[in-house]
Structures are given as C-alpha cells and as structure tokens.
C-alpha cells in the first residue's frame, strides 16, 4: 500500500501550477483532494510520474453568488459547498446531492473540481452539474475556455480537459422561475458507490405544464446520462401520475444502458432507474408548486 516513486510539486499560485502542467504535459497529474487518486496510487493502479498538488491554491476555493446563480472555485471542499447557505438557496439540488457523496471525512477533503475532473461514472457531482446546465471554466497557460457540463464528460473517466488544462471554476446559472429540483439514489450502504442515482430539474409554465425537464442518471453508463427521451415525454404535459410514469419508463429503457457487476445486474439497475426517476420527478414537481 505504498505508491510508486513520483516527483512532487506544490505550487503557491495558479500560474505556477499551469506552468508546471504545461512543462510536464502528459506526465503530470494534478492532485486536488486526493480521495480517488491517492488510493489508486497506493494500489499502484495509478503511477503518475509527476504530481502537481493544488492544495495551496487558496484562490480556487470559494463559493460566490453571481448573476442570480453561483460560481464555485474548483478547489472548494465538498463539505464547504454542502453547508453553504448560498448553495442551499441558489442550487438546492447540489446541497441535496452532496450528503450522498461518500462520507463526511471524505467530503472534508474531497473537492468539487476534483470529483468532476475524475469523472467516475458513479459519482453524484457530474450528474448534478449536467442537470443544472453548469458551465466549467478550464484554464491552461495559453488561455481559458468555457465548457458546458454536458460536453465536459466524454465517457468512462473521460473529460474534455487537455493534459495541460485545469478545471478552475464551475458556474451555475440561476434556475428559471417555477423550477424545482430533486436528487435520489440507492446504494448498498450509505456512502457506497450508488447503484443508480437520479438528479431532476423541472420547470413549469404559467399553466402548470412541464416546460422543461433535465433529468440525469448516474451509474447507468460511462458517465452522467442526460435522459433526453424522458424529457421529451414530459415536454408540454401536465405532470400527471401517468405522464411521470411514462417518463420514468423512458429514462430506464431508452436513455439508460446500465452495466452489470457483482453488486447489481443491468436489469435491477434499470428497475431502480425507473423507480428513482419517478420518485425524483414527483418530488421536483411538488416542490415546483404542482399539485397532483
């Protein structure tokens, strides 16, 4: 349980970190909270030649209200985000999902940006960010660019980040009027990787019909899965029990392509996806003021 030898750098500023990543692109691995990378290194599954420790970059740890939404620095600890009143007000979905992320000890150290850049298919934060239509700022020595969350995740542990780029900020737009959210997941024990999880964001129109639904599933594919078929079922409909059930069915059978493993079969995951999507939608529509 000891890592292979590696070179260690602990820059004090973002510019220094970006210079290191540029100089050692391909070899260097950024270290955020280390809650996934360090165990992988200790098992010698991961053998990065160079670690660039981001933990001194205080400039990347913040939660700021901005344009009705939020801006979150990538090195903000998950626990800080979970307990932030600004997050509870502007992005209740994020606050609701965070207690499902592993255990408090892990969230004390784990960062928001670290979890997103790691892109584990069972992770909660990627699914939440796609549901909220977050925008990620990636920076490298040669400049900065904005990547929509839905384009950031490219498959199993894959992201749109180049080897010399760092995820520096997550921008959450404000929720439209008459919107509400809900997050649910099932794990074998609390804190385990989810067998299936669902994040739902729904918006009603003036007449109480569903204007838009952004539903994402986790642990049912290579990355967060945006349930486009389920959204199509809901669009323009009054969210009755039948409509919600049909949408949940579409999410489970047409949007999700779940894996089988020793913890759960693909069939059981599909069942969970249907049940959790239905419950999450019911909860979100109720919170949005719809009375069934």
């Amino acid at each position: 349980m000891k890592p292979a030898a590696f070179e260690y750098h602990r820059p004090d500023t973002l510019d220094e970190a970006l210079a290191l990543l540029a100089a050692r692109a391909g070899e260097a691995k950024p270290l955020a909270g280390g809650q996934s990378l360090i165990p992988a290194m200790n098992f010698r599954l991961a053998r990065p030649g160079v670690l660039v420790d981001l933990n001194r970059l205080a400039e990347l740890a913040y939660v700021r209200p901005a344009e009705g939404g939020l801006r979150i620095g990538a090195m903000t600890r998950q626990r800080v985000v979970e307990r932030s009143s600004a997050v509870q007000g502007a992005a209740p979905l994020l606050a609701e999902a965070l207690p499902f992320v592993a255990h408090p000890q892990i969230r004390n150290r784990g960062t928001v940006g670290g979890s997103l850049a790691h892109a584990d298919p069972a992770a909660e934060l990627p699914a939440v960010m796609v549901a909220l239509a977050a925008r990620f700022e990636a920076r490298s020595r040669s400049g900065s660019r904005t990547i929509p969350a839905a384009e950031f995740f490219t498959g199993l542990f894959g992201t749109a980040l180049a080897p010399d780029e760092l995820l520096v900020e997550i921008a959450l737009p404000p929720l439209p009027a008459r919107s509400a959210t809900a997050f649910l997941e099932v794990a074998r024990r609390h804190g385990d990787y989810a067998l299936v999880g669902v994040a739902a964001v729904v918006t009603l129109d003036e007449r109480g019909r569903c204007r838009e639904a952004r539903i994402t599933l986790l642990s049912v594919g290579g990355g967060p899965v945006l349930a486009a078929e389920a959204a199509r079922v809901l669009a323009g409909q009054t969210p009755s029990e039948d409509v919600v059930r049909a949408a949940a069915e579409a999410a489970a059978t047409r949007d999700a392509d779940p894996p089988s493993d020793i913890h759960a079969s693909a069939g059981y995951r599909r069942h969970l996806a249907a049940v959790l999507t239905r419950r999450a939608l019911v909860r979100a529509f109720e919170r949005a003021g719809h009375v069934a």
Partner: protein, 155 residues
C-alpha cells in the same frame, strides 16, 4: 462477466472474416495492442497495454486460440491474458451474418473471468471497461474495413 452484443460492419462478410483473422490488422485496431503475432495456425500471441481513467496503462501478455472455425460465418476463441495488475481468461463466440444491404452483422458473446488486483479494486467498472474496449476495437476495425474497400489502408 459476460460481454455480448452486435455490431454492423459496412462491408462484405468475406472481407470482415479475413480482417478478423489477420494479426497485422488486429494489432492496429485492438485498443492498447502493441504486438500480435501468429504463433501457430490458429493461435496468436501478443502484448497489450491497457489503462482506463486514473489507471496507468499496464502491460498484459495475451494469447488467443481460434476454434471451431466455419469460414466465413463462425468461430470461437479461447483467450488468456496476464499482467502485473491481474489476469483474464475466457472464451468467446463470434457469428457473422450477411445483411441485405451488403453489410455484415456480427454477434458476439464472451464469458470472461477477471482476477487479480484489477478485479479486486475495479470490480464495479469491469463491465463498462469491457464494453468500451469492445466498441472501440470494432469501430476501428470497421474503419479499416471501409478504408480497404475504398482502396487503401487507414494508417
């Protein structure tokens, strides 16, 4: 672990069959394949370098035995691979069907046993990694097929 699925190749069955039996083609299309040589009439030996996400690419030695061949429609394989991170053993069955539009439908089923460190630590991801690598390999093979039919090699 069972990996099964179908894949449609945009080319005739005979050509697909030929490519699937050619180690020089397979080494180009299999994800992470570094070397693959014919070690007997129906046996290939090779080295693959496989890494996913945070896992640094690690080498595996691989041997594949082809069995029960019915050209150009069916064959079975015995696969055996080992490396410092673990091992894979198992068998696979591959059937090729002619499609009306001139394409070829592949149906595959593999039963694999994965052990060692990768299985202990990465159990929950094995299925997805296997799916991902299968899809990458088949898509690359289809690309090679189309390049050949167009009169060249893709690389």
């Amino acid at each position: 672990m069972i990996v099964e699925g179908t894949f449609t190749f945009q080319g005739p069955r005979e050509t697909v069959w030929e490519l699937l039996q050619n180690p020089d083609v397979l080494v180009k299309v299999l994800p992470g394949a570094k070397r693959l040589v014919r070690a007997g009439e129906d046996r290939f030996d090779g080295v693959m370098q496989v890494g996913v996400g945070p896992v640094t690419a690690a080498e595996f030695t691989v041997s594949v035995m082809l069995k029960d061949k019915v050209p150009p429609q069916y064959y079975a394989m015995e696969v055996d691979s080992k490396g410092t991170l673990g091992f894979t053993r198992g068998s696979a069955r591959v059937a090729l069907e002619v499609l009306a539009d001139g394409g070829t439908l592949m149906k595959y089923t593999a039963e694999l046993q994965v052990g060692g460190k990768i299985a202990g630590v990465g159990q929950r991801l094995l299925d997805q990694v296997a799916k991902l690598m299968t899809r990458q390999g088949l898509e690359a093979l289809n690309k090679e097929l189309r390049a050949r039919l167009a009169g060249g090699s893709s690389r």
